[in-house]
Symmetry: C5
Amino acid sequence: MSKRHKKLEVNQRCLPDTGSSPGVIYLDDSSLEPKLTLHRISGAQYTSENIDSFAGVYESIKTTKQTFWLEIKGFKSLPMFDLLQNEFGINKLTLEDITRTHERPKFEEFETYAFAVSRMLMLNEEKELENTQVSFILMDNALITFQEHYVDCIQPVRDRLTAGKGTIRIGGASYIMYAVMDVIIDTYIEILGGWGDELEEIEDRLMDKPERSIMYDTQLIKRHLISIRRVAWPEKDKINDIMRSDSPFIQKQTKIYLKDAYDHCIQAIDLIDSLKEISVSNIDMYLSMISIRMNEIMKVLTIISSIFIPLTFIAGIYGMNFSREDPVTGKLMPMNMPELYSPHGYLYTVIIMVIMAVLQLVYFQKKGWFK
Amino acid sequence: MSKRHKKLEVNQRCLPDTGSSPGVIYLDDSSLEPKLTLHRISGAQYTSENIDSFAGVYESIKTTKQTFWLEIKGFKSLPMFDLLQNEFGINKLTLEDITRTHERPKFEEFETYAFAVSRMLMLNEEKELENTQVSFILMDNALITFQEHYVDCIQPVRDRLTAGKGTIRIGGASYIMYAVMDVIIDTYIEILGGWGDELEEIEDRLMDKPERSIMYDTQLIKRHLISIRRVAWPEKDKINDIMRSDSPFIQKQTKIYLKDAYDHCIQAIDLIDSLKEISVSNIDMYLSMISIRMNEIMKVLTIISSIFIPLTFIAGIYGMNFSREDPVTGKLMPMNMPELYSPHGYLYTVIIMVIMAVLQLVYFQKKGWFK
Amino acid sequence: MSKRHKKLEVNQRCLPDTGSSPGVIYLDDSSLEPKLTLHRISGAQYTSENIDSFAGVYESIKTTKQTFWLEIKGFKSLPMFDLLQNEFGINKLTLEDITRTHERPKFEEFETYAFAVSRMLMLNEEKELENTQVSFILMDNALITFQEHYVDCIQPVRDRLTAGKGTIRIGGASYIMYAVMDVIIDTYIEILGGWGDELEEIEDRLMDKPERSIMYDTQLIKRHLISIRRVAWPEKDKINDIMRSDSPFIQKQTKIYLKDAYDHCIQAIDLIDSLKEISVSNIDMYLSMISIRMNEIMKVLTIISSIFIPLTFIAGIYGMNFSREDPVTGKLMPMNMPELYSPHGYLYTVIIMVIMAVLQLVYFQKKGWFK
Amino acid sequence: MSKRHKKLEVNQRCLPDTGSSPGVIYLDDSSLEPKLTLHRISGAQYTSENIDSFAGVYESIKTTKQTFWLEIKGFKSLPMFDLLQNEFGINKLTLEDITRTHERPKFEEFETYAFAVSRMLMLNEEKELENTQVSFILMDNALITFQEHYVDCIQPVRDRLTAGKGTIRIGGASYIMYAVMDVIIDTYIEILGGWGDELEEIEDRLMDKPERSIMYDTQLIKRHLISIRRVAWPEKDKINDIMRSDSPFIQKQTKIYLKDAYDHCIQAIDLIDSLKEISVSNIDMYLSMISIRMNEIMKVLTIISSIFIPLTFIAGIYGMNFSREDPVTGKLMPMNMPELYSPHGYLYTVIIMVIMAVLQLVYFQKKGWFK
Amino acid sequence: MSKRHKKLEVNQRCLPDTGSSPGVIYLDDSSLEPKLTLHRISGAQYTSENIDSFAGVYESIKTTKQTFWLEIKGFKSLPMFDLLQNEFGINKLTLEDITRTHERPKFEEFETYAFAVSRMLMLNEEKELENTQVSFILMDNALITFQEHYVDCIQPVRDRLTAGKGTIRIGGASYIMYAVMDVIIDTYIEILGGWGDELEEIEDRLMDKPERSIMYDTQLIKRHLISIRRVAWPEKDKINDIMRSDSPFIQKQTKIYLKDAYDHCIQAIDLIDSLKEISVSNIDMYLSMISIRMNEIMKVLTIISSIFIPLTFIAGIYGMNFSREDPVTGKLMPMNMPELYSPHGYLYTVIIMVIMAVLQLVYFQKKGWFK
């Protein structure tokens, strides 16, 4: 129960204020203090440092040939956004999109930069799905990423930067953007894998006993799958947009790698559809098992009732007190229940009862009710 | 019940008269007296006044450089429409569209103006969905809006004009049109959020007790969702049409903002689909809970019947009155119910009954009926 | 029942003969004698007369500047079709399409004329849906319409011609064609409105009592909706074809009006979809109500059976006839049903029975079965 | 049962051998000896003869101006295919397509001929659906048709050739191809009409009594509809391909007629969809009727059980044998069942029973169980 | 059960590691030692040998005019991939795709080669579906195929090479690629045929007895069909891509054959859809049969209970012990159960019981419960 509610809240927190002016930085009490990390990459050399302000950073970007990756986590600093608007020349509509963290994945090109949004999905400790936004501002030799929370799933990219193997240090800013997006998509697939396991486990429980929780749990996963599908589809479109764009900020060789991320995204969508089919089939199985159980319960009731109710009736007949003789005149009334006074009346009655029961058992057997 | 009926009426009131001539101003007894408000905006300066007639307004529009927003609420004035047709040069088909308030959202370009229709959705005090029409006539430096009722949801736009912050006073007539449309779309999302809450509340009741009203209420919301979807889709297309049009009345920078409204519209459609999925899943849950309850009811019935009916039969057997001795001859008939005359007959019978009951309980336990 | 059958017949009568030669005038015994009406329109002047033959009409059309509308109802006259083929120059495939009255709505252009088909839907006195064909041949200043039956729904067009208001007398032949098509589409919406009312009424009955006829009636409307949808979709395409065609027979200003008819057609489709959703939801409601009723019935059965079957068993126990004393020796057998001989045996038994019943009632109450 | 099985076999016989080489003539034991018929048409003159070999036919085709139609039924003659390959210049892939009679409808153009495939559907005497292939090779003034079986549905074309009316003798080879295809499509519609009748008849039985066979029969028709739909869709595409092709073998005026066949094909698809809807609605009706019957059965059981079980309990009470006096001491035990010794005990008991029964009847009446 | 689990594992093994660097050869403990087979084809001559290394092969390919087909099964050899990368010039992203054996069917063109992926489906001995990857590298006169396992379904291609008939030895490398792909698609159809048989067998069991396993087995096949559909669709797209590509490695005449493979792929998809419909209809049949059985069970219960419960009540009435005379005063109490003392009381009672039973039987007969 609590799980499901959390999910819906996530959906609804994403609603903008009705009628508010566009282009406004959107901060509330839950906004976090910004944490800044600056990665400087130039082939062999790579440094990463936490910084307090990026006041002089734009200067370095413009004047050196290094690749910069500036990570911004937490938005609670209006001066920071002023700096971005005035020094970096970021459009205020872009800044609004960054801080209103309910955007769908998209890719937009501006004169001096390109802007992209990814949705990062993670399972927190309570196995709830967290849906947060990662925004990218991509410039010639710099990438700025924005996250509303501190926790993320892109540590592998930082690790690969530290390790320095492969293309990561020489691919430029757009390659790092690709790497982050790819990790995010891979996380989708990882989460889907976990749900796949859960669906299998539910299926095992289903075979065991069709209990109410199966319905709840499967519906919950199905609902999660619907949410993730709503993220994966625009994600796919976004990567396609990036591949087909002729933005100068996207290096040609990066596009080859993006094809890979695109394939992964399609794989994720495939997996979502396939898990959805499995959950629907689980629910169908569950409902059919309830019907079958009902059938079985009814068969037990019907067999026992059908056998014993007529027998009880016969016993009731011979439990009647019709008088053998008139209590006043003492005259014999031979028509009243003569069976009771036959020497083998009881025996015959029991034999008849046994025959009736056997006949019914044979009938039910023939109908296949014992199979 | 009454809610649902109101809704259908709304749908049907929207039907035009069969075979009436096109281009006819459509007024009936429920039409309201027009209320006119004229907003004059020129950057720093902003005035808003209620006027009785806009006889000289067209002259001002043509001769000054200010931006005009003329709000018309209520249509019961044929001279007003004559003025619009003759002085403002509005096509009579456009005027018909304005007064026949059942148009789908659309955008049409004419030589001297552009015409657009939005559907304004609001919840009234009885929580019923009101679906009214807002029509826009956009000229070079003037916007005329038309509403059939006095109540609306676009007060935030007027407030922003009064406050004067942001682009609202300097964006021109097309920006104000965008602002009104955006508020209307935001209201969709707000209403959807309310239904999301209602669905959650229904879900809680569902967990509690699957009662008939859950089905009614969910179906009602589902039907509302269908209605709103029929509004949101053409709305999205309309905004797309405006963005792609090369109408001289739409400023270039307004189109950037319209992209934002377009995104909100897609978000609304997303939310509608997602709520629809939730309501379908609620109904599925509900039906499965009814099945499960049926199963439980039948289990209780079957367990109790299966245990007691055979026992009652045994009791019935020993309630039979087969005679121990022939009433006439007095001869003993030892075959008739000798158990009744055994010193421990009662005891043995009770023991057999207990064994039978225990065996059945064990059987049901094994079948998992007590889980 | 009879209603539904009539409908299916309509569908099947529309099948052409397998393997017949194309371009053949198709007349059978049910064909009606032709009734001809000629309308001559020239702005202020308008005359309408029933004629017996249109032998000289083509001559007048060619030589005067008036607008002609020739209405032909009933096809039982081969000479008439010869005249059309030879004098008016109508292609024989067109004539076949006119007489084989099962065509889908379509628009075809020929060198000397344009050909269009509309499907006219009307409810007859028995509230059955009549689906007949109206064919149009449009020439420079003449429109010929063909109907297989005498009854139609286009009287409003004739009335507007008589009244002479609006564009009807000055719009030319293509405007009259538009007017007829528009009336036909408006009739769709009118019929749909009627079904909407019927669905509401069914819904009320559903709330009252879920009886079998609800299923029948809803299915019938659903089936009608499917039929009308199959007409409305190609109708929409046809009007779109006319609007986009550059046929010289369609005046430019008529196309603006056709946009209006197009919008009405989309509205009709919208309404169909919406009524279909409502009928599906009615059926769902109905089935869920049957399930709920079943639950209630079973609860009554289970409560009463569960309470009284065990009590009856106890009563049965003390109705057994185990003997207190050996009938032969007269020896007391104290183990046989000593309860029967206790001074308060009856009282205790009744008290136990009441306790059992109360416990069960409490159990059922807790399970929520009385809610 | 047997019907359904036959159908599935048809589907599976259509599977090619895995990994066989392409371009191989595919003959098996069930192949029939070829029957050849040559039609020569030249306007007024028309001859049709059965021939044994078409050795010299190609020569005649090349040298005379007549239109030839060569019908080949049965493929068991490799020399025939050699002749076709070497003399007529037919590609061996085409010949494979002709003999592997499981192709979907298609149209392919080659340099010296055009190739088309139609699927001929017929009901045999056991009312089973036969799905066979008709292949067409169309050359300048010759048409060759191929059928695997002797029975077909294109007799009307031969009859029209004999009659000589209409375009059939003067339309050229492509017109004859059109005529054959059109007859095949008309046969689809005829078969669909038959199923429509069957569905109606099933519907009548459904109203009468919801028995198991309704489900079987409806499912069978539904499955047939699925098969025919899989044929009708590519057929439609094929005819569209022919219409849009600029093949020199298709005369221009034939394309006008093909538009007619195309319309018929769309009508067939319409009819299929409509029949599918009807069969789905029949199944829904059937399932709802089962539910309703269940409700009725349960109501009977519940009413009778609820009335008589409590009454039986009361009778059971007064059937108990609590002793009036202590059998040993003879002391009166007035607490034991004093009712039994009241002068009107029986009367009061019966009155109470009647009241209980009436109260329950009123309760059930109020619940609407007797409606 | 075990079957289904295996299947899901297959799905999940296909997930890449989150965040791993792209372009990395992916080998794990389950990788097999490579087995290399080199086929050299030059029209008449054809040799096939197992080789240990293909160190000098690239040299031969470049210098001779023969067609080469190098089969590589098992990937556990990094030097092999180095050779491919450095000598053959294969892109490392391609090599990653070859070793990450979870790719969807696709076709990619590079400067010196074309790359394609097919998914090979086979049923292993336990009738489980094995889904493995076959990758193709196509160069001017050489084809390299990659398989992760030793077992495959493409033996027919090798056999045709050995036999030397048809185009196989003269069609070049692209023809061999086509031949392999075509065999793979034919295997799909073969597997589908097997499932078709299984569905028929399930259907027979269904007619026999609706047992739980029918639901399981049908769901299992349905799930398999979903998997195979997810493979067949991109396969179709891939073949279309190859046909439309202007890659120099694809000979023109090969494309004609690819059209054939494309048709087979569409046939497979058709068959999948058709089998899916059949399995859905089986499940529907199954659920309806459960409902019908429930109806029958309930009818038996209701008939027997309704007949005997009232009769038992009557017997209970006359089993009551209302006293005929006051035990204390000995006064006669004539109102207490006078029936018991009537000479024909028993007879009348039995007659009444028989009449009641007969009336109920007639009622049930009329309701059609015995049909």
